[in-house]
């Protein structure tokens, strides 16, 4: 009984880490540019597909194809920012929401049109597939363990990046006040592009981590819709909040799938979201948004 419970918590944490990583992508972009990227899940899907295609070429090792896929996604992320997002910056939030929703539609449709990707479900071959790791009586699949480890490493890296590098500090400055950052000589537009690169790269990592669990298909980006509650619960402007939000959603889903009636699992994330929004409208770690005159 207790073991089953712990087992559920563990797999919830693993899935929650993926939600957290996707949510992290939202939060990075939102903090810097106040754009909410509804296509984050689709960036993740593209990352997984690119890794799949690279892996399918056979001549490079798995790790190299992962690195290349992440780099490719970083380039795509930057290109999307330059082409589509920068022209609408400063317009009402509605336009920006609609344009990223349009991007999501476009990316999802495009993925199913590309030959070799299509509407089928693919399996991303990983060297750690089908292995399990036992902790006493608890058994964790290597895929789940990998997700948790990579998330921890990535969080440490991002933390160090924002804390200790010039560029990271510049990004923090932009997220606090764009105009002041601009006056201080920070190239705001270029840094924004870079943030999209990082966010797309994080999304690609999330996609590759998720691939052994849900497989790779054109609709896998819909998990982005689960990552929204994670980001909002965390407060949409907070990087640790995104991970914590993701973990909460992951654990709640795992438990409600086991102990509550059918169908509750699919909405549990949204019920938690609404509950948090009603109690704390700016999320658990959110900044206060009321404007003063």
């Amino acid at each position: 009984m207790l073991n089953e419970f712990l087992q559920l918590i563990l797999s919830g944490i693993a899935i929650g880490c993926v939600y957290g990583l996707v949510a992290l992508g939202f939060v990075l972009i939102y903090k810097a540019t106040e754009v909410v990227n509804f296509a984050q899940g689709e960036l993740m899907m593209f990352g997984a597909f690119i890794a799949l295609t690279m892996g399918g070429l056979q001549f490079m090792p798995f790790w190299l194809s992962v690195v290349l896929a992440v780099l490719a996604m970083a380039l795509i992320g930057g290109a999307v920012e330059r082409a589509v997002i920068r022209p609408v910056l400063g317009q009402p939030i509605f336009s920006i929401v609609m344009i990223t929703i349009g991007l999501g539609f476009f990316a999802r449709g495009l993925a199913s049109l590309i030959p070799g990707w299509g509407t089928l479900t693919h399996r991303l071959p990983t060297p750690y597939a089908d292995q399990t790791v036992a902790f006493g009586e608890l058994v964790l699949s290597a895929g789940h363990l990998m997700i948790i480890l990579v998330t921890i490493v990535l969080c440490i890296l991002l933390f160090a990046f924002f804390r200790y590098t010039r560029m990271g500090v510049a990004m923090q400055a932009i997220s606090q006040n764009q105009l002041a950052a601009h006056y201080m000589g920070i190239p705001v537009a270029r840094v924004n592009t870079l943030i999209w690169c990082i966010s797309a790269a994080v999304a690609a990592i999330a996609g590759i981590l998720l691939a052994p669990i849900t497989f790779v298909h054109a609709n896998m980006g819909l998990i982005g819709l689960k990552a929204f509650p994670a980001a909002v619960i965390g407060g949409f402007g907070s990087i640790p909040g995104a991970i914590v939000g993701g973990l909460i959603i992951g654990i709640v889903e795992a438990l409600s799938g086991r102990y509550l009636p059918d169908g509750i699992k699919d909405v549990s994330a949204y019920v938690v979201l609404l509950a948090v929004l009603i109690i704390r409208p700016n999320g658990l770690f959110g900044e206060k948004l009321t404007k003063k005159v």
Partner: protein
């Protein structure tokens, strides 16, 4: 170019700007009335869909275009209206009673969603409404005793005051009448103090509050009215299709409903109609396009979302004022010919538009 000299304040809020405009709308009304004589069954049925989408567009336009609240879950209100109508009409409730009931239940749902909306802004509201949409969709799937689960529900044609409207033209006239009524009510609402309050909230919540507008009251009201109108469209939609299932009211439908108002043109009632027309015609165009594409591409299910997404992106990038904005530009060009300048309609760009404390 015609010049309008305003000599009284009442002139500002007239339903029609002047007699010539009134004449044009009368002509349009006549064309719409004789449309069943001109169109075949299929196109008349499409025309009914345009009217239904236009009603949804009007409801959503009131909320998003005039009050500035984003809703990513509007298909849920459509669903509530459609299912209420389906359940009631299956129990033998006459249409004249069940339609207001469907609107009332939908309005109640709007009230519930509107409650958190009082405290939420911008993106938080968008995601809360998205969550509401999901919850309604899953509820419809799981509550099998009432909604029939994913098997869906079947409906009979509308019976209005003893007359069964089972022909295409009968339903068309019903939809036309209800669309006209909705439009008139909205038009009147928007020129009343309530409507002015909505627009004030859209333009600046702080200014609206300073002018003594109760944000809580008006935001909830906008949600309730918008949901009621969408519920009305939902009831019509259910009768039009005569079969409803939860998949017809998913999140992507909500986004297509938003596309109606974005493509039509935010903040104009004309836009709701233009957008509805565009969104009904788009699948037809895609069907024609398929014939010219290589067969490996033409029958992929991904083709339609790709085109939808591309059109949405292009509209927001190139014509944020939508089809109606484009029409206004073309009209102005002819009115001012040859004096039209390129920058005439250019919107002021503001780079430091932040919701953050500073």
């Amino acid at each position: 170019m015609r010049f309008l000299f305003k000599t009284s304040y009442n002139q500002d809020i007239r339903l029609f700007k002047d007699r010539i405009t009134m004449g044009w709308y009368l002509a349009l009304g006549v064309v719409l009335l004789v449309l069943p004589l001109l169109l075949g069954e299929y196109y008349l049925s499409q025309a009914s869909f345009v009217l239904i989408y236009a009603i949804v567009g009007l409801g959503l336009m009131l909320l998003s275009g005039f009050t500035g609240q984003i809703s990513l879950g509007h298909a849920a209100f459509l669903a509530v209206g459609a299912y209420t109508e389906a359940v009631l009409s299956a129990r033998g409730v006459p249409f004249v009673v069940s339609l207001p009931m469907a609107m009332a239940v939908s309005a109640a749902a709007g009230f519930v969603v509107g409650l958190p909306a009082l405290r939420l802004k911008g993106i938080y509201l968008a995601i809360a409404t998205l969550a509401f949409g999901f919850i309604v969709e899953v509820t419809l799937q799981q509550w099998e005793s009432v909604t029939g689960g994913s098997m869906g529900l079947l409906l009979e044609p509308v019976t209005l005051l003893g007359v069964t409207l089972d022909s295409e033209s009968g339903f068309y006239y019903l939809a036309l009448g209800l669309t006209g009524l909705t439009l008139l009510i909205l038009k009147n609402l928007l020129r009343s103090p309530t409507g002015r309050a909505f627009v004030a909230i859209r333009d600046s919540e702080i200014s609206a509050r300073s002018m003594g507008i109760g944000l809580a009251r008006y935001k909830t009201l906008a949600f309730v009215i918008s949901a009621a109108i969408t519920g009305l469209a939902g009831a019509l939609y259910a009768h039009k299709l005569q079969f409803i299932s939860p998949e017809q009211f998913g999140v992507f439908v909500s986004i297509e409903l938003l596309m109606i108002i974005v493509i039509g043109g935010m903040g104009s009632l004309h836009g709701a109609f233009l957008g509805a027309l565009f969104m009904t015609m788009l699948p037809e165009f895609i069907a024609i396009l398929r014939e010219y594409l290589p067969s490996s591409l033409a029958y992929q299910p991904g083709l339609q979302p790709t085109i939808f997404g591309a059109i949405l992106i292009l509209f927001v990038l190139l014509e944020p004022a939508g089809l109606y904005g484009r029409w206004v530009k073309i009209r102005t060009w002819f009115q001012l010919f040859p004096l039209y300048r390129k920058g005439l309609m250019k919107r002021e760009k503001s780079y430091v538009k932040s919701d953050r404390l500073s």
